[in-house]
C-alpha cells in the first residue's frame, strides 16, 4: 500500500507558511478596521452605555474575524492542497496520525485563555452598564397592544407618541406592560429590556447626541408587533423644558377632586372594582403587605403612617385625588384614573370600600 510520507515537523504541506502569513495579514487588517471603526455596529452611539457596548463589540469582532479566518482559510487550503491527485494510486491514504498532544494542548489552552479574557472584559462592560448613572430623571414606559405611553414626574397625564429626553441627563427608565410582553429597544443607545406585565424592569441611559431615534418592540406581542415602534427625541435641556411645559401642568394637589361624588359610593361596587383595577399592585392588608404599592387595608387608620404617600392627610377626598391623578413614587408609578379607565363614580366606590376596610 502506498503511503504518502510526510514528516509533520518539517512539512505541513506545500505553501502552508505563506497561507498562514496570509491569514495573519488578513486578520490583522480586518481587526484593525474593526478596532478603529467609530460605528462597529453600524449605528452612532448616541448615549451612555453605547460606547461601552461598542468597545466590547469591536474587541469580539476582531477576535471573531481572526478565528473565522483561521478556520475558513485553512479549511479551504487543506481541501485544495490535500486533494487526491489524479495520478495517485487508487488506494492512496493520508497521513496516519491520530493526535498531536502538544498541538491539541495549545489549541485548547489558547481558546481557553481567550475566553477567560473575553469573559473578564464582558463582565467589566456589564458592570459599566449596570453602573450607568440614572439618578437625575426617572421616566416610566408602559406598553400595550400596540404602542407606548410615557409617564414623567410631575406630569399628570401620560405622554402618548414620542418619548423626549434631555441631553446629558442621567435617566432611569422603568418599563412594564399592561397586557402582554413587549420589548423596549433603543438601538442607538444599545439598551433593551422586555416589558413584562406584572414586573418592572429598569434601564439607565444618558443621551449624549441630540436627534431622533427609533424605539422598537422586540418581543412578539400580536398582530401589531411589526409596526410597534415609536421615536425617542433627544433634545437640549432648554428644548426639553419647553416640550415638557407643553405637555400639561404639574400634578395638582388640591381641587383635583372636583366631580367625584363621594357620598354616592357603595362598598360592594368598590370591592369588585378593587379586585379588577387595584389588586394587581395593592393588597387589602396592612401597609407593609406590599405587592407593588403598599397595602391599603388601613389607609384611613394607620398610626404608623399618619399621612398619605403624597404627604396629605388621610381624608376620603385626598385618597380620591390620588386615585384620580395617579402617583409617581419611589417604587414606581401608579397610573392615573384615566389610564386605568376609572370614572369619577368608580373612584367614589373605591374610596368608600377602602373606608369600610379601615373600620375593621
Amino acid at each position: 500500500m502506498a503511503q504518502r510520507v510526510v514528516k509533520p515537523r518539517t512539512n505541513l504541506g506545500p505553501g502552508f507558511w505563506p497561507v498562514t502569513a496570509f491569514i495573519i495579514v488578513v486578520s490583522a487588517i480586518m481587526s484593525y478596521f474593526t478596532l478603529t471603526s467609530p460605528w462597529p455596529i453600524g449605528l452612532i452611539p448616541a448615549g451612555e452605555p453605547a460606547p461601552a457596548t461598542d468597545a466590547l463589540f469591536r474587541f469580539l469582532g476582531a477576535v471573531g474575524a481572526t478565528i473565522f479566518n483561521i478556520v475558513t482559510i485553512y479549511t479551504i487550503y487543506f481541501g485544495i492542497v490535500f486533494a487526491k491527485p489524479k495520478n495517485a494510486l487508487p488506494n492512496a491514504i493520508g497521513v496516519q496520525i491520530h493526535d498531536a498532544p502538544v498541538l491539541e494542548f495549545w489549541w485548547t489552552a489558547i481558546p481557553t485563555i481567550l475566553i477567560v479574557v473575553l469573559a473578564i472584559y464582558s463582565t467589566k462592560i456589564w458592570l459599566d452598564i449596570q453602573n450607568t448613572q440614572g439618578d437625575v430623571l426617572t421616566v416610566e414606559a408602559i406598553s400595550y397592544q400596540y404602542g407606548y405611553q410615557f409617564r414623567y414626574p410631575r406630569l399628570a397625564q401620560p405622554v402618548s407618541g414620542e418619548m423626549h429626553l434631555p441631553l446629558n441627563t442621567p435617566t432611569t427608565i422603568h418599563v412594564t406592560s399592561r397586557d402582554v410582553i413587549h420589548g423596549f429597544w433603543i438601538p442607538e443607545m444599545r439598551i433593551k429590556a422586555d416589558m413584562v406585565p406584572g414586573l418592572i424592569n429598569t434601564l439607565r441611559v444618558t443621551p449624549t447626541v441630540p436627534g431622533r431615534y427609533p424605539i422598537i418592540c422586540t418581543e412578539f406581542c400580536g398582530v401589531g408587533h411589526g409596526s410597534m415602534k415609536t421615536t425617542l427625541v433627544v433634545q437640549s435641556q432648554q428644548d426639553f423644558s419647553k416640550w415638557f411645559a407643553q405637555q400639561g401642568g404639574s400634578q395638582s394637589s388640591a381641587g383635583g377632586g372636583g366631580g367625584i361624588p363621594l357620598s354616592t359610593g357603595t362598598v360592594d361596587a368598590g370591592k369588585v372594582l378593587f379586585g379588577q383595577k387595584c389588586s394587581a399592585c395593592h393588597s387589602t392588608g396592612p401597609f407593609s403587605q406590599k405587592i407593588v404599592g403598599p397595602g391599603l387595608g388601613q389607609i384611613f387608620s394607620d398610626p404608623a403612617h399618619p399621612k398619605l404617600v403624597n404627604g396629605s392627610d388621610p381624608t376620603t377626598q385626598n385618597v380620591a385625588n390620588i386615585v384620580k391623578n395617579g402617583f409617581q413614587g419611589d417604587i414606581g408609578t401608579m397610573p392615573s384614573a384615566q389610564m386605568n379607565a376609572i370614572s369619577n363614580k368608580d373612584i367614589a366606590n373605591l374610596v368608600v370600600y377602602l373606608a369600610s376596610l379601615s373600620k375593621k
Binding site: 449605528l43 479549511t75 498531536a100 433593551k192 413584562v196 406585565p197
Partner: protein
C-alpha cells in the same frame, strides 16, 4: 464463536445478539408496522423529509412577504402563523426526528454490530407518534395556527388562536416519542455493542447519538411540563403564567428554555457524529483526536443543561445571574473549538476525495463555525442587550441550524445513500446541490446579521424601508436555496432507476455497516463480528474478526479476489 487474541480487551459480550428473529412476511409487517430499525429509520426520513419540504415552503412564504417593507402577500396575522409553524416544524418535526429517529435508527445499530435496537416495539410506537403529531401540528392551520413563534411566550400565547392548543398537544406527543427514543438508544448503545467494542472503540457517530439520547430523555419531559401547564391555562384557566392571576410570564421562559437549549444540542450532536464519519473516510486517514472529540461530545451535552437563561438576558431575570450563564455559555466554545480544530486536522495531510458528502461536511466546518462565533456575540450579555430579539439572532440560529444541522444531514444522506438504497447518486447533481446551497445559504442569511444590528427586529411582517435592499437580496438567495433542494430531490428520485449499483462499500469506509450488503439484510449481521480497535486506521487492516461470517459469505477462505482492498 469468535476467539480473540490473548490480552485483547473484549468488552461485554451479549449473548442476546446471536439470536435472529424470523423475517416478517406480510406487507404491513414489513413496511408499515415494522420493528426493523432500518425500516423505521426510512420511515422517519421520509416523514421528516416531507415535513422539511412543507416547512421550507413556509420559509419561502416568509421571504416572499419580506420582499416589500409593507408586506407583500399575506396579512400580519397569517404571517405570524406562518413563521411560528416554520420554526416549530423545523425543530420538532424535521431536525430532531431526522437526526435521532432517522439517522440514529438506521446507522447506529449497524455501527455497533447489533441486529436492532434494545426495544424494537418501543421504537415502532415512538415512530408512529411522529406522523400523528405532525398531522396535528399542520392541521392547526385550519383553526388558526399558533402565531407567537416557536417559543409561544405567554401572555400573548394565552390569547393565541385555537391552533396554539393543538401545538401544545402535538409537541407533547413528539416529546414522548423523543424521550422513548432517547431511552431506547442509551440502552442499545450501552448494552448491545459487538464483542470487543469498548466505548473507546465506538464510531464517533455512536458517541454523538449517545450524548444526544442522554439530552433527549432528561430534557424533553421538562418541555412536556411547560406545554401541559400552558394547555391547562389556555383551556381551563389554571394560572401559571398570567400575571393577572398571580402567575409569571418569566416562569414559562425558564421552563421552556430548560428544554429548548439542550434541544439545540440534540439537533447538532448527531450531526457532529456524521461529520466525524465523513471526514476520515474521504481523507483516508484516522479522525484526529478521537478521544477528545468523544470527550467534547459529553462535555457539550452536560454543559448544555446549564446555559438556558442566556435566552432570557433581557427578560428581567435577576441581573447578577446573567454572569454565570454568560460564562458557562462561553465555556462551551472550548469543546466545540476542539472539535472544529480536530476536524480540520483530519483534513490536513489527507488524500481527499471530493465527493458530495465530503463537500457538505467541509462546508459545514465553515458555516457552523460562523454560527458558533455569532453565538459568542450573543453570549456576551452587553452585546445581547442590543442583539436579542433582532435579525442577528435569526442569522445566528440559521447558521447553526441550516449551516450546521441541515448541511450535516445532507452530508449524511449522501454518505449513507448507497448503503440505504443500494444505488449511487449522481455526483454532478450532488456538486450542483452543494455549491448552490453554500452560496445561496450565505446569501440568504449573512445579511441578516447587519439587518439585526441596524435595527430590524424579528417576527415582523413589515419593516423599515431602509432595510429593503438586503431583504430582497436574502429573498432572492432563498429562492436559489429552494431550487438546490429540488436538485437534491431529483437526484434522489432518479438514483433508484439510473444510479450505479453501489455494492457493499463504494467509499472504502471502515465502520461495520460497510462490511455487509447494500441495503443490509434484515438481520444485519449473520454472525456478529468482534471488534479490535477504532475503525479509522486506514493504514491498517480492518480491525474486525469474523467479517466473512458476518456478511454471510459461503466461501470458507477469503481470497484477494473475493476481498480486494477497498478503493474509491
Amino acid at each position: 464463536m469468535a476467539t480473540l487474541a490473548p490480552g485483547v480487551k473484549t468488552g461485554p459480550y451479549h449473548a442476546v445478539l446471536d439470536h435472529i428473529h424470523p423475517e416478517p412476511t406480510s406487507f404491513i409487517r414489513k413496511y408499515i408496522f415494522s420493528i426493523d430499525h432500518k425500516v423505521i429509520g426510512y420511515q422517519y426520513m421520509i416523514t421528516g423529509g416531507l415535513f422539511f419540504l412543507i416547512a421550507g415552503l413556509l420559509a419561502e412564504l416568509i421571504r416572499t412577504q419580506l420582499l416589500s417593507p409593507n408586506g407583500a402577500i399575506v396579512s400580519a396575522a397569517t404571517y405570524n402563523q406562518i413563521y411560528s409553524m416554520h420554526g416549530s416544524a423545523m425543530v420538532w418535526m424535521v431536525i430532531i426526528p431526522l437526526v435521532t429517529g432517522g439517522f440514529g435508527n438506521f446507522v447506529m445499530p449497524l455501527q455497533i454490530g447489533a441486529r436492532d435496537v434494545a426495544f424494537p416495539w418501543l421504537n415502532l410506537a415512538a415512530f408512529w407518534m411522529f406522523p400523528v403529531a405532525g398531522v396535528i401540528l399542520f392541521s392547526s392551520f385550519l383553526w388558526g395556527a399558533p402565531d407567537a413563534g416557536w417559543t409561544e411566550y405567554p401572555p400573548v400565547s394565552l390569547q393565541g388562536p385555537p391552533g396554539t392548543s393543538m401545538w401544545c398537544v402535538a409537541i407533547f406527543l413528539i416529546g414522548i416519542s423523543s424521550t422513548l427514543t432517547g431511552i431506547n438508544f442509551i440502552v442499545t448503545i450501552y448494552k448491545m455493542r459487538a464483542p470487543g467494542m469498548t466505548l473507546t472503540r465506538m464510531p464517533l457517530f455512536v458517541w454523538g447519538q449517545f450524548g444526544t439520547a442522554g439530552l433527549s430523555f432528561i430534557a424533553t419531559t421538562a418541555l412536556a411540563g411547560a406545554l401541559l401547564a400552558l394547555f391547562l391555562e389556555r383551556t381551563f384557566g389554571v394560572p401559571f403564567y398570567d400575571p393577572k392571576h398571580g402567575g409569571s410570564p418569566v416562569l414559562w421562559q425558564h421552563m421552556f428554555w430548560f428544554y429548548s437549549h439542550p434541544a439545540v444540542y440534540i439537533m447538532i450532536l448527531p450531526v457532529f457524529g456524521i461529520i466525524s464519519e465523513v471526514l476520515p473516510t474521504f481523507s483516508r486517514k484516522p479522525v484526529f483526536g478521537y478521544k477528545m472529540i468523544a470527550f467534547s461530545t459529553v462535555a457539550i451535552a452536560l454543559l448544555g443543561f446549564s446555559v438556558w437563561a442566556h435566552h432570557m438576558f433581557t427578560s428581567g431575570m435577576v441581573p447578577w445571574l446573567q454572569l454565570p450563564f454568560m460564562i458557562i455559555t462561553m465555556v462551551i466554545a472550548v469543546p466545540t473549538g476542539i472539535k472544529i480544530f480536530s476536524w480540520m486536522a483530519t483534513l490536513w495531510g489527507g488524500s481527499i476525495h471530493w465527493t458530495t458528502p465530503m463537500l457538505f461536511a467541509t462546508g459545514f466546518l465553515i458555516t457552523f463555525t460562523c454560527g458558533g462565533l455569532t453565538g459568542f456575540f450573543l453570549a456576551a450579555v452587553p452585546l445581547d442587550y442590543h442583539e436579542h430579539g433582532t435579525y442577528f439572532v435569526v442569522a445566528h440560529l440559521h447558521y447553526v441550524l441550516y449551516g450546521g444541522s441541515v448541511m450535516g444531514l445532507f452530508a449524511g444522506i449522501y454518505y449513507w445513500w448507497p448503503k440505504m438504497t443500494g444505488r449511487m447518486y449522481n455526483e454532478v447533481l450532488g456538486y450542483w446541490h452543494f455549491w448552490l446551497t453554500f452560496i445561496a445559504f450565505n446569501g440568504t442569511f449573512m445579511p441578516m446579521h447587519w439587518l439585526g444590528l441596524l435595527g430590524m427586529p424579528r417576527r415582523v411582517a413589515l419593516y423599515d424601508p431602509q432595510f429593503q435592499f438586503w431583504n430582497v437580496f436574502a429573498t432572492i438567495s432563498s429562492y436559489v436555496l429552494a431550487g438546490s433542494v429540488l436538485i437534491f430531490l431529483y437526484n434522489f428520485a432518479t438514483s433508484f432507476r439510473s444510479g450505479k449499483i453501489a455494492g457493499p462499500n463504494p467509499w472504502g469506509a471502515r465502520t461495520l455497516e460497510w462490511m455487509i450488503s447494500s441495503p443490509p439484510p434484515y438481520y444485519n449481521y449473520k454472525k456478529i463480528p468482534a471488534v479490535l480497535a477504532t475503525p479509522y486506521d486506514f493504514g491498517n487492516p480492518l480491525p474486525y474478526i469474523g467479517l466473512e461470517a458476518a456478511a454471510g459469505a459461503e466461501e470458507a477462505t477469503p481470497t484477494a479476489a473475493s476481498h480486494p482492498v477497498p478503493t474509491l
